[in-house]
Symmetry: C2
Subunit: 214 residues, 2 copies
């Protein structure tokens, strides 16, 4: 077998229908019911979710204004993919008996409860479940929701989704999120010097100034 001459154009994939399909999924997402965080019932499935803030914390006041009439501006977007998905170890039947999406939302709730100056009752969530082959869409839809909404906790304020790095890995700094929201047990074990709070608050302000109702 010989390899061919190099021609970049032979490697470029184009398909406009894909863009339309993805927009359809985003449209569906934006029409799903809004629930408390975590949702009131445990449920099966994997998928994509958005978290909305409507409380009175001065740092995030802008989100209360943006979401006054409808939940249009998430503060965080995330996904729950089947465990073992990266290694393709899982069958679809397992996805459907996983409560990974609900568990993710509950873990976020616990993180919010653990910290200062935000209250769980000021958060709401929205989510879409993708079943069987549809679960291949999850990363795409999450990426697009982040790109469209630029949620603060996915962009200018990193760290909400972080895990405990574990024993022997505490020689790092607190995330920006943990500087603003003190209280997570693992964050208190981290030994290095984080970004100064005033710089982080300034980044938040700059980011929120870019978000506007259209």
């Amino acid at each position: 077998m010989h390899t061919q001459d190099f021609d970049r154009s032979k490697h470029v994939y184009k398909n406009d229908a894909f863009i339309e399909l993805v927009k359809d999924a985003v449209h569906f997402f934006n029409g799903t019911p809004v629930h408390t965080l975590p949702p009131p019932e445990i449920f099966f499935g994997v998928g994509v979710y958005a978290i909305y803030y409507t409380g009175q914390n001065p740092t995030y006041k802008k989100y209360s204004e943006l979401n006054r009439l409808s939940y249009d501006f998430p503060i965080y977007v995330g996904k729950a993919v089947p465990s073992g998905w990266r290694q393709s170890r899982i069958s679809h039947s397992e996805d459907n008996s996983s409560t990974e999406l609900f568990s993710r939302l509950r873990r976020h709730s616990n993180n919010i409860v653990a910290v200062e100056n935000i209250n769980l009752e000021d958060f709401k969530c929205r989510f879409v479940i993708f079943e069987s082959d549809g679960s291949d869409m999850i990363s795409t839809i999450e990426a697009l929701l982040i790109k469209l909404n630029r949620p603060l906790w996915n962009s200018a304020l990193d760290g909400f989704g972080n895990h405990d790095p574990g024993k022997g890995r505490y020689e790092q700094a607190n995330s920006d999120w943990d500087v603003i929201h003190k209280g997570r047990a693992f964050a208190e074990k981290l030994k290095c010097i984080p970004k100064p709070k005033d710089i982080i608050l300034n980044n938040i302000k700059k980011h929120l100034d870019t978000l506007k109702k259209t």
Copy 2:
């Protein structure tokens, strides 16, 4: 605003056309030219790639047989997404002037050259570039290629894609890949006890026994 009663079915997204579209992209992928690793020319773009092995290392001999007539069985599948993609900080114009996909393939080449018992000339690669909004497909196509092909280095032999964890984070074990392929500088700094080689070799054998031409 009040939240609604919980009804799981309102959150399930279904779209069969999506599945067809993704299959079209995979079909395109499988028809792209095969090149040396790294490809002979530097090029712009982000996307998805597969790496094929056709050498004589006894551990991987099965891949030589599977790929004898055509490159159907990758040993590794990966993606190069725009830098800052997770944080949605990037504009599409930046994707198109990034050489991230080529750089990724070159980095893999360097890793192969650094280690024992595999030779760079026994590897080939295939890749597809996704431009502008199409880059939203990258994660989906990568996931599907992994699911369809179950490449050994994505599943039973973890670690090929690992980076140097950096100062203060060496208190971990070598990946399975680094046990089988000694030589990466960062791997030699890791302090914990890795999985025994005979167990890893047995996992490889079991995995390769599941791969069959259809």
